[in-house]
């Protein structure tokens, strides 16, 4: 039992290995779930399982969709500035 507790506590003293790759962006999903659940817990009149789960899921979906839209718009702006403008101006951006 003590060994289990020591192992548990020890796991909180060493950071995880997380690469700087696009997959690491997926770490935002659990955080968005938490934000949706807590925000809705402060907003709904009465916490009942299914209505509450549905409201949280809708908020989760809205946040994710908005983040994806922002990412697509930013990617588009970057693409225009780095790929299209230099061709139009006939010279490198940098």
């Amino acid at each position: 039992m003590m060994a289990f507790v020591a192992t548990m506590l020890g796991s909180f003293t060493t950071p995880m290995r997380i690469g700087t790759n696009p997959a690491s962006v997926l770490w935002l999903l659990p955080l968005v779930v938490s934000i949706s659940v807590v925000y809705k817990a402060t907003k709904v009149y009465k916490v009942r399982l299914w209505p509450f789960a549905r409201e949280s899921a809708v908020l989760f979906g809205s946040i994710v969709v908005f983040i994806v839209m922002a990412a697509v718009i930013l990617y588009g702006i970057t693409w225009i500035v780095t790929e299209q403008l230099p061709v139009l101006l006939n010279r490198s951006t940098f």
């Binding site: 909180f12 950071p15 995880m16 997380i18 955080l31 938490s34 807590v38 817990a41 509450f52």
Partner: protein, 133 residues
């Protein structure tokens, strides 16, 4: 006859806020909103623990990451104990794990701040409603 603590409005609000800060969700629990308090407790504690698990206890660093610490302390005053461990510098952490750990623990703290304000507001509404009844 001595006043009950619920009769003293300011004391009632302060104690509800303090309880909500001490243990996430406890403020709502004290207001008899048990399921709401449980949801808040599980969500915030889980988010905070995931943050510490990802980045290690070193993400709570009152010396080198003071702005993040200001948000992390909103989770509970017990974070100060972890801050003392992080302040020793023995668990410094860098890179993506540090970023994600700090973001998770800080967002958990800010969510708890939202819940503290909500618990105090609910306590105020309840007190006003009882006074008018």
């Amino acid at each position: 006859m001595a006043q009950s603590w619920k009769d003293n409005h300011a004391l009632f609000l302060i104690s509800t806020g303090a309880l909500a800060w001490l243990v996430p969700g406890a403020g709502h629990f004290a207001l008899n909103e048990k399921s709401r308090g449980l949801v808040i407790f599980v969500s915030i504690v889980l988010t905070f623990l995931v943050g510490i698990y990802v980045g290690s206890v070193g993400v709570i660093d009152p010396v080198h990451a003071r702005p993040w610490y200001a948000a992390q302390i909103m989770n509970s005053p017990l974070v100060m104990v972890l801050g003392r461990i992080g302040a020793t510098g023995n668990y410094r952490v860098f890179g993506r794990a540090n970023e994600i750990g700090q973001i998770y623990t800080s967002i958990a703290g800010l969510l708890n701040l939202l819940c503290i304000v909500n618990a105090v507001y609910m306590a105020h509404l309840r007190h006003v409603g009882e006074a008018q009844a």
